[in-house]
Symmetry: D2
Subunit: 225 residues, 4 copies
């Protein structure tokens, strides 16, 4: 028996439930299914990888914005853990990963930003700047939460022959589940200390939009030239 | 019988009550009392006027930030009414007023920003950027609310011989009472639609700090060289 | 002989030249051509109109951000003229216009924001927040500059039988040419007082991206269900 | 012979020269001189220490804002090095240091923020948000640059009997000189790639204001109750 990825009685879980169709379109996207079956065309995966690297840079900016928006040392440290993970570790791992798929660092860095990458990252950053830390963390949450759900599901199969098993192992790991839980916990906590029910619809709209932008990101991979 | 300047059952009124000593130090400041008695030294008033002009420019920036932070057309229009009032009317009136006290436009514009002016305006702008529209409007509120309370009290006396009667008439007018009520209503409304009790202490701290920075602004006038 | 819409020796003109293919794809888009010929399907125009209303709300937020980012009263007034024009006049005109095309205010306000509308507006807002006033005004400029170029060109034909002549007259008017010139002049001025040649590539990328997002906005109209 | 703390031909050095009187009032402040002589009252030092801890939290927010404002991975990493240093190391060292002077963590955290601390930190944050990365780094620079100059000068004397020698060793170390040089180099680099001479007066005003706010911070220590 595995533990749930996030608490069942907090805002994060309510947000997933409230955006049901968008959530399923994201976590069960054809890109994800074919990645799990190992039938995803390599061109699609490579296109995704390059864009995901560009995504990471803005994602780090968004977590840095969360540090700026924090009110306590504990909040700052929590968000800066994500900034550090991205800048000090994930960008490097990502480039290693790209290399193992035949993409040099120069290839990756010369990649023009796709419209889907741009739309998603700027939406999150702008929503977070306009609102408070809760608005920002809700816009950030579908990424980690969805990847953890996808990773766990795909990791439950035998991937020994799947060319994408390294990706599946990364996002299916207990480490990554912990990252996602941390984000969901922060969503739950900020909701309790800051918001009232009057904000739920607006937060659900933010979560839904970010979730749909994640699905569009998979689609961009699938549509790779 | 006069109507209350703001509703007695909303957040605005609770904030005034929560920062009692700071509020009294602001609305009953020696600068205010002597202005009401007509015994305020002219140098103090002139110094205040020049700094208040510089204050207005940042105050307009803060209301423009409120437009940026808005979610609906109605919210945008409400905040932009303040931006327009300042940029299109009050800066001009202020310069006329300065001229009537022997200060040319050039004198006013060449005035270096006093520390008290800087501290107050940047605190409001920064708090508003870090938080949401409610945080911003709470930081902005002591200015209009306090001036309306002061204006109404001073206007209740006979000011026919008070050299500062034009100032008293401006802030003691029903027009200005309406401006203050509009700001207090917006504080009350945003609290109801966005926040829970967990934010009260933090909002009270913001309101208290802005109130103390208003008192420091009077003191700066009184300490004029 | 008509005067040029903007100065030929400033940054604005250099930016248009630097993004040639994107600029042409924007100002000569099939949506524009068919609008000029009066052959644009009504469904496409209506979809565009509704999204353009939603666009306007964020566009007002972006000009309010420019007021916040200003350093002088003159800069603030220039940007607030755009905020006022949108909030006090254009949103109303837009709704009148929509009504004349059979769209009620309720229809317009209930319209969900299209991805193209979202991507464009958030890009501009986020770029402007990350950078300085010059970055922001460069991201805002393709809208007014391009509409003025389109309006002037289409207005040069006989539109007496064109169902879209009101639209063409609005953007082909001398008034609107003045608005576009004001924006281009501000781009030119800020470049001279703030930037060096080292920023040109980055600013050209911003201008190009905003221009491509304008073209995608036309395409969204054309692709209307 | 010691190497210069920063390059003599860049913007950072020009800014120090341009704000001469403010710079001297900061680096030669009575608080600094008495700290160097070991005659500073312990109460003054303790008050400074507690406020400096509160300062650090906002200083981390400002460097996180610099990450948000960055355009390249290299820029992000440079600013995040400061965020990490503060959140992961300096806040802890600071609390250790406070403990060694008889101040518990609870004492420090319960300290109300002094006006001087507030004014300085919010000025830097707000200036950085309004402008670009160069404006922000210029507002941040006097802190590290001045402490390095002070530390090096005080460390040149025999401090074996000075009760404040740990403080002097920290800021007089080659490590800290490297930190200050890194900040000054970033000021110099951003100036070269982004700005023209038209911005110099404005940047000098920012640097001067931040420098004067540093001097006011020392004075706050000296004025401790």
């Amino acid at each position: 028996m595995t533990t749930a990825l996030w608490a069942s009685d907090g805002l994060a879980d309510r947000l997933v439930a409230a955006c049901g169709p968008s959530w399923r379109a994201y976590v069960d996207h054809a890109f994800v299914r074919r990645l799990g079956e190992g039938t995803l065309p390599l061109g699609a995966f490579r296109h995704y990888l390059k864009q995901d690297y560009l995504f990471l840079l803005h994602y780090a900016r968004a977590w840095a914005l969360a540090v700026y928006k924090s009110s306590t040392l504990a909040e700052m440290r929590k968000s800066n853990a994500s900034v550090k993970a991205i800048l000090d570790r994930e960008t490097g791992l990502h480039l290693d990963f790209c290399r193992s798929w035949g993409l040099s660092e120069a290839d990756v860095e010369a990649t023009p930003e796709d419209d889907a990458t741009m739309a998603y990252t700027r939406y999150v950053l702008e929503k977070g700047m306009q609102g408070d830390l809760l608005d920002l963390v809700v816009a950030l949450a579908p990424c980690a939460m969805g990847y953890a759900e996808i990773g766990r599901r795909l990791a439950a199969s035998d991937n020994s022959k799947n060319p994408y098993r390294a990706w599946i192992e990364t996002y299916g790991s207990e480490d990554f589940a912990g990252v996602a839980r941390g984000v969901a916990d922060e969503v739950d906590r900020l909701w309790k200390v800051r918001a009232n029910e009057g904000r739920f619809d607006d937060l659900a709209k933010t979560f839904d939009r970010a979730t749909r932008l994640e699905a569009a990101f998979w689609q961009m991979g699938l549509d790779a030239p």
